[in-house]
């Protein structure tokens, strides 16, 4: 009995998608949209921006499948592309001083439905502290500590050496730990 798409390993699904199997690709999307969304949401803080990035990443992935020669490298490619799209979105945002404050989203947790679930004051503080990191630091820390990606892959993603990535993560960790001190 042939396996259902939901039972197949990712490399098999990617190989089939590359042959034009749309159902196999749909299963790939179902499997990886949530981790990519969570990464984008923590990078960008806005649910709508995060969804736009994820949609863009998976459409780009579909277009580039034919150029992808290693089916097993697909997930790393997804993380890399999602991270870079997020960094581009942040670079394209206007500096806060240029923005009309009346028309921007409230930065308070109450104004953000995607953060309403984070009732814990500690988690709210951590998420706020993440926003204070530089975008590259935030990307390095999220990819390593939350998504478990390798230093080498992160280095490739942001165009730095693995040693530099370790340094950024160490600084991010020290900064985040400082914010945690009221709860220790």
């Amino acid at each position: 009995m042939p396996a259902l798409d939901t039972d197949l390993d990712t490399a098999t699904l990617v190989a089939r998608a590359r042959d034009g199997d749309v159902r196999a690709y749909e299963e790939v999307v179902r499997r990886y949209q949530a981790p990519m969304y969570r990464l984008a949401l923590r990078m960008l803080s806005r649910a709508a921006d995060a969804e736009d990035v994820v949609q863009d990443v998976f459409l780009t992935a579909w277009r580039r499948l034919s150029q992808l020669h290693d089916d097993g490298a697909f997930v790393g490619w997804l993380y890399r592309t999602t991270t870079n799209r997020c960094l581009n979105v942040i670079r394209a945002r206007k500096p806060l001083s240029d923005v009309d404050l009346d028309t921007t989203e409230s930065p308070s947790p109450a104004g953000r439905p995607d953060r309403a679930a984070e009732t814990g004051a500690q988690m709210t503080a951590l998420v706020a502290a993440l926003d204070e990191l530089t975008p590259e630091q935030r990307a390095c820390w999220l990819l390593r500590e939350v998504h478990g990606r390798s230093y080498e892959e992160i280095a490739l993603t942001i165009g730095a050496t693995a040693t530099a990535v370790r340094g950024r993560i160490a600084r991010a960790r020290a900064q985040l730990a400082e914010v945690m001190s009221p709860w220790r």
Binding site: M1, P2, A3, T6, D7, L8, D9, T10, A11, T12, A15, R16, R18, D19, G20, D21, V22, Y25, E26, V29, R30, R31, Q33, A34, Y37, R38, L41, R42, A47, A50, E51, V54, Q55, F58, L59, W62, D71, G72, D114, A117, Q122, M123, L126, E145, V146, H147, G148, T163, R166, G167, A170, R171, R173, A174, L176, A177, M180, S181, W183, R184
Partner: protein, 179 residues
């Protein structure tokens, strides 16, 4: 910039050192007030990081649908098999039939399948098929079985002769992987 001296505590230790020995502190770690408070902050951070990694936040329910609508709108025109003017069938549809046939062999998962018309014969096809095989279960006789099934499926379900099958095993998988 020296990585190991990113954040020095007043006692001379680095925050990163404290992090690396969070579960196995030495005498200094246990008695130094700077190290102790740093350890406590890092422990809180570690707990929250785990929560962040496990948090159950999902995108809107219709995101998959929106992505797939965009994907389907882009699907390239399929190449067709068969005599011009006669009944023609898309090579991708044939590939799907052949993959399904190969999947029926225990321990085998079809991956890439390319189908082209055999040169000079529009009733025959040439197929390049790569498969992944299950670690520990796969037997060499399975390759012959894949050949049989693919040839039979081509003849019985598509109505074309399998003139050539290039079959290669390009990966191993373990049951339950990614599923």
């Amino acid at each position: 910039m020296a990585v190991n001296q990113a954040y020095l505590l007043p006692c001379g230790r680095d925050v990163e050192d404290v992090w690396e020995h969070l579960d196995s502190g030495d005498e200094h770690d246990r008695t130094c007030p700077y190290c102790q408070s740093t350890r406590q902050s890092l422990s809180v951070l570690r707990g929250l990081t785990k929560e962040l990694a496990e948090e159950d936040i999902a995108p809107s329910l219709d995101l998959t649908g929106r992505i797939m609508a965009a994907v389907r709108a882009e699907i390239r025109r399929h190449e067709l098999l068969g005599p011009p003017g006669g009944v023609r069938v898309s090579t991708q549809a044939v590939a799907a039939v052949l993959r399904f046939a190969a999947d029926g062999v225990p321990g085998v998962r079809a991956r890439r399948c390319r189908v082209i018309e055999a040169p000079g014969d529009d009733q025959a096809i040439e197929v390049t098929l790569t498969i992944a095989v299950e670690f520990g279960l796969f037997a060499l006789t399975a390759l012959d079985e894949v050949r049989d099934r693919v040839a039979t499926a081509a003849q019985a379900q598509v109505g074309v002769r399998l003139a050539r099958l290039d079959l290669s095993v390009d990966d191993l998988y373990e049951t339950g992987e990614d599923a």
